[in-house]
Amino acid sequence: MSDFLLHKHEHEHFFYNNQQEASSAKLGVWLFLVTEILLFSGLFVAYTVVKMQFPEMWKVASAVLDWKMGSLNTVVLITSSWTVALAVRAAQTNQRGEKNKQIVGLLAFTVVCAFIFLVVKYFEYSHKIHEGLLWGAKYTFPAKVAELKEQISAAFGASIWDQKNVLESMASLAKSDTQMHLLKEWTEFGKPELQALLNVEKPHLFFGIYFLITGLHGIHVVIGMSLLIWILIYSRKGYFYKDYYTPVELGGLYWHLVDLIWIYLFPLLYLV
């Protein structure tokens, strides 16, 4: 009789044994992962086609993304993938529930990583939204720049644009709050990589695809999180041990897939 919490697992009546049940469940989940892969492949094809049709635009637009944030998120996801793998192993080797705590701990850490990932994404998104770097009709960046330029001309005098280094001269002149505000805005909007967007065709297509892919991936992160939390709750009650850890294993598989997709997304969007 174990001194830890442990629930013995009974296989469903229509299976011969735990064995058959477990391996069926696993095949089922692998087939599900296959559907996920094909779901994303659609967006990757769209990515490739648009990139081929507007290579110049693509260079310029993708330069706007912040590769530091991308790398950070990559590291975060890889770490979470590692910890979840360890969690599965802990469940595999959980004899009498003595490893329940370890499983819970590792899963909790994974969930935290997932959360960090989302926070970073939130910051990236909010920048894009502020700068109007969005899809289709919502791509208001040019309008925003034009408006900002007018305000600056009004506040600093049109001559400001003739200066060699606009920002410096603005900084030297800036006094009133509005001027300070405009200075802050222009340091963001005036970035060369952003300004470059004004000279290329249809950059909204890039941001459309960026938001579609990362958005869909983000949704999967959220789903994975909730899945892991659910498993976490049950492992606290000691449901998973060496003879029955299917849910942990399958939850892990799903999470690894989320990681797998990001491994491709990161270089495709941020680096090349």
């Binding site: 696993k26 296959v34 892969i37 890889i78 192993r89 680096l271």
Partner: protein, 157 residues
């Protein structure tokens, strides 16, 4: 495949199911993934032109395979799961292949026939350019629609 007994599957799974990977392996893979991530970022700072994407994809694929083989246990898993996974990649490949064949070879029917010549290609392009010059209004309707859509007033570009 055909002489293959039901319980074969479950036997097969038996070995796999029990299999426990050593901790050191997990840690090793984790380290490797971090290193590879660093490498991709580092390489991307250098410009290899067209090769950029290929290199990045190559590294990404190594990382992906590490995750799939070790973290997802495919290395010791039932053959069937491995097949299922690889199968999906095959179909993804098909999905890429055909649209790209189309996109990359559009409007080049002529070189399927002996009548193809570079001059003719250029002439055609010139003709279309000329045509557009002669008929500025030809594009107007569409431009207007886009401008309206993009929230830009008609006229100003």
């Amino acid at each position: 495949m055909s002489h293959h007994d039901t319980h074969h599957d479950s036997h097969d799974s038996h070995d796999s199911h029990g299999h426990v990977t050593a901790l050191s392996v997990y840690h090793g893979i984790f380290a490797a993934l971090l290193v590879l991530t660093f490498i991709t970022v580092a390489i991307s700072r250098v410009d290899f032109g067209a090769a950029n994407t290929l290199i990045a994809m190559f590294v990404a694929t190594i990382k992906a395979s590490l995750v799939a083989l070790f973290f997802m246990h495919l290395l010791h898993d039932e053959k069937l799961n491995v097949i299922t996974f690889t199968f999906s990649l095959l179909f993804v490949a098909l999905f890429f292949l055909f649209p790209l064949v189309d996109i990359t070879s559009r409007g080049r029917i002529d070189d399927l026939t002996d009548t193809y010549s570079l001059e003719k290609e250029n002439k055609k392009i010139e003709a279309h350019k000329q045509f557009l010059k002669d008929n500025p209004k030809w594009d107007q309707a569409n431009k207007d629609r886009i401008n309206h859509f993009m929230g830009v007033e008609a006229g100003q570009k």
